[in-house]
Point group: D2
Chain length 140, copies 4
């Protein structure tokens, strides 16, 4: 199954639909049911001690699965996140760009499940792992 | 079990430790293992269509459990979120202030589990429900 | 919203559809979007040290939400569990009957979300808390 | 990091500590932070229509992470499951042996996080994916 959208289309979609966060995220790779996304943490993403906040990691995972879905099916009527589960395993350091590897585990007509692994772009140890479920609107 | 900190101390703690989000949240009530927190969504919390974003709801839940923990044990060495699970059930409207009712289900020496229910301040239907686990540092 | 099925109908449904576990569970109460279910742990539910196993607690939660859904909508074509998140907070003792308080947080046309709190029938401290999502089949 | 226990030791451990389920599971492979476990579903694992029940899949995932932990650290004082999140993606057929691929994402002094992917032994599509957290007892 080939993606319907490439990196430039996804980055444009992000800018148009999510202007508040579009500057935070860069799509690095798109494949069959997979997508890589990076975030270079800004001051507003940090917590005391310089670590990246949980909500910022959540946003990276959430956006990654959404973009991967859009890449596969095209910019369809709005899917919504219905469930998310995230494990925070190690504290990321402030200066590091984070890489999210997204993989769709299921792309159903009504439910989509995506897995996300987040690690420093230059490291191997996982910072966080998330699973998100999106509900697709029933087509008319 | 009586809270060690009241609303003013918690609001000060928030301003000192989480300056990026301190203006977003207002502590409304503190009780035995419970805390109420409101968020008046700003432009940066919104998604297309005017609904509040998932990461913003996650931030509200995460911050609520953390403040409830601090209220009960005092401003101790930093506890960290290790796991979060969140169900998004209904789309909140843009203009509504959201109320998070936080309750600690477990306050252990090493693990703390908090339940959060989020609804419009003036409504009854749940927007989201979350469970978060915090790991407390081992005391020296 | 009034339940369509009462305790006897639910117990019959359980015996017909889930004969393997019907003897384990007793429906104690049914209300608007709520249901109480008890489990008297048998030898096969236990782990070393006499505590009740995680999968047994999971089964209690899963069955409770399913029965609460059936109570509200009637014995419809099979809904399936799509997601479950469970926190184990305290070890239950072997001899204790466990009580699950089930509450449907959302009863949508396609997704149903239920919350379950499990404690000893004669105690107050939570043993476990679970959230389960069921997907209802699209009606023809 | 090399496993401390091999397949025979793990199968013996299972028989000694979890006699109720030891016959259900077979350890097929053990590696660095990984373990493969199969379950040949019996009548008691099934649901109407012949599909494998959610609690049975949960038991497979839970046992798999526990055995993988024991393989890496040896048969230490009892670790307990504190959190589990599971997504059910496709219905497994009754006659199929199920294979769980377990991987420890974090092996900390106090918390252990394991990822489990379950599919038919002879298939590629995921039946379920789970993440479990175990809390290790503080050493004396």
């Amino acid at each position: 199954m080939t993606p319907k959208l490439g990196i430039p289309e996804l980055q444009d979609f992000l800018a148009a639909e999510f202007p508040q966060v579009a500057d935070d995220f860069v799509v690095r790779n798109v494949g069959a049911m997979t997508l890589d996304l990076t975030m270079a943490p800004q001051e507003r993403h940090l917590r005391p001690g310089g670590t990246v906040s949980g909500p910022s990691l959540f946003a990276l995972a959430d956006c990654g699965v959404y973009l991967c879905l859009i890449a596969m099916v095209g910019p369809e009527a709005l899917a919504v996140t219905t469930n998310a589960s995230i494990d925070f395993m190690r504290k990321p350091e402030a200066g590091q760009t984070l890489l999210a590897n997204v993989r769709l585990l299921k792309l159903g007509r009504s439910l989509v499940v995506g897995d996300v692994q987040i690690r420093p772009e230059t490291g191997v140890d996982l910072v966080a792992r998330a699973t998100l479920t999106y509900s697709r609107p029933r087509s008319a």
